[in-house]
Amino acid sequence: MTGPLSDVPPASTEFLATVAARELEGKQRVFAGVGLPTLAVDLAVRTLNPDLELVYESGVCGARPEAMAEGIADSVLVSGAAAVVPMPVLFGYVLQRGHVDVGFLGAAQVDRYGSLNTSFIGSWRDGARPDVRLPGAGGAVEVMANAGEVVVVLRRHDPGALPDRLDFCTSPSPVAARAADPRAVPRGFGLRTLITPKAVLRRRDRFGELEVASVHPGVSLEEVRASTGWDVAVSPDVVETRRPRVEDVRLLREEIDIVRLYLR
């Protein structure tokens, strides 16, 4: 994909969605969430991967929406889809069986091995009331265990969002699963790519740690290190994150999210 590059800021939705879209090149099936993943998936279909099959937790497979979906259960995902299956089939046969290549997830906290917390901030053991009741597991724990790999986009990059230790492990990485039961390691690679407003972090090994793979334009490696809650590893071939093309930003603004639901 060539063309002039855009100067949208690295923390913008346009920048993050474009970086996320690149993760879908060459993939067959993506488990798409709501919000920024909606933009990333749509952009990928329009630019890098027209044959990508969009699978949604709601049971929709092979969606071909005529308008931008405002949620994973939006009616526009259903009309004209290739299949709509009940949730036992979606979770059991499509996801747990292993038909999803890439899952997009959000998180409040991510640890160095790519385990996610979407449940609580604060203490929760022994009946304690948490400081913040987050949305909970939803289908994230299943996506983490069963998708081929996972991509997470965070809107923050600071030691609160990337702590040394999660307040709660909702969706364990293969590392955490192996620690709990060495025989029960899940099928998936777990988190492969973490996209933040400052950098892209990757895990190269299924049982490895996140390392900084690229740093966004205008952000220093030192800033990335200081903003991470553990002594984060850096890839020997760390580069600057490639900017979105002008065309990517145009597509996002003028064809994908024309009502500016997710783009602010």
């Binding site: 259960a73 009940p86 949305p135 597991a137 265990a145």
Partner: protein
């Protein structure tokens, strides 16, 4: 379509169905995954002042916020504590984070964990296995998530216990007067949640002639034997949606956030839109034509398939 609703069957009105089947302290599942959420039935439960319910729902959605705020719910059994696309459920959060104005018990699973609980309940199994909990803190948070030993030599596998609601309430596009229920679009876990329950109430956009259902038996998600009450309740899923009938009222979902954030506003909303509205017909009128136009949908028809019919020997001989 003309339907003789005086004929024997399970057809009733919503107030009667709730009065007959939903009692204080019961475990009640309201299912519909972002689609066909049974809001009208939930509002009727609020109006009838039910208390101490164990409210089961994969994604609580605004319906949980409303029923919790109305004081109907003692315990929430769920997997996701936000409203689909549009932000927090602040009433639920106040209860959980600050016990304000009262505590709320929570029993927490993942989405598939809830699906598995319904599957076990529907098939009268004690539990259902799933692969995804190893290494998660969920089993420590919720001791009802356990493990069993694989008798074929594999690793231990997590299981969730059967969920058998006293009552399951769902909404659908149509049913016949016997209770054969058909739906299309996103089907969620409605079939499992209904079969898991002792009693089932179904609100529908339309009650249709028997022959409409029997012309397409593969479309029936709940056969009549699984259904105790059918209620004609057009637009009974608003502000969620019914595929092909009306779209989700996304504007209302966005409006909910500030309402939910302010307990006084929330109670005022309940007064105006639930307590002072006698039934769904009045609600539909109050919503008003302009708003209904904003969620209207164009037609996009399925094709027909041929089920065939055997040549009767008499005909063949003629």
């Amino acid at each position: 379509m003309s339907v003789d609703t005086s004929a024997p069957g399970v057809v009733t009105d919503l107030a009667s169905a709730v009065a007959a089947h939903v009692e204080d302290g019961m475990t009640v599942a309201f299912e519909g995954f972002g689609h066909l959420i049974p809001f009208a039935a939930g509002h009727e439960v609020i109006r009838q002042g039910r208390r101490d319910l164990t409210f089961c729902r994969m994604t609580p959605d605004l319906l949980a916020d409303q029923m919790v705020a109305a004081g109907c719910v003692r315990r929430l059994v769920s997997a996701f504590f936000a409203s689909g696309s549009a932000g927090s459920l602040y009433e639920v959060r106040r209860r959980v984070e600050d016990a304000d104005p009262a505590p709320l018990e929570v029993e927490e699973y993942s989405h598939y964990g809830m699906v598995c609980r319904y599957q076990a309940g529907a098939a009268r199994l004690p539990f259902f296995p799933l692969r995804s909990y190893a290494g998660s803190d969920l089993p420590e948070l919720n001791p009802r998530i356990r493990t069993v030993t694989d008798p074929y030599g594999g690793p231990d596998i997590h299981v969730v216990p059967a969920l058998n609601p006293d009552v399951t309430i769902v909404h659908a596009q149509r049913a016949d007067r016997h209770g054969n229920v058909q739906m299309w679009g996103i089907l969620g876990a409605q079939q499992e949640a209904a079969y898991a329950a002792d009693r089932v109430i179904v609100t529908v956009e339309e009650i249709v002639d028997d022959e409409v259902v029997r012309a397409d038996p593969n479309r029936t998600v709940l056969p009549a034997h699984a259904v105790d009450a059918v209620v004609a309740c057009p637009r009974g899923a608003h502000p969620s949606y019914a595929q092909g009938c009306y779209d989700r009222d996304n504007a209302f979902y966005r409006e909910w956030t500030p309402i939910s954030r302010d307990p006084a506003l929330l109670q005022a909303w309940l007064r105006e839109w639930v307590y002072e509205v006698p039934d769904r017909t009045a609600y539909v009128e109050k919503v008003g034509a302009e708003r209904w136009r904003s969620v209207a949908v164009d037609e996009r028809l399925s094709g027909r398939v041929d089920y065939g019919r055997r040549y009767a020997p008499q005909e063949a001989a003629q």
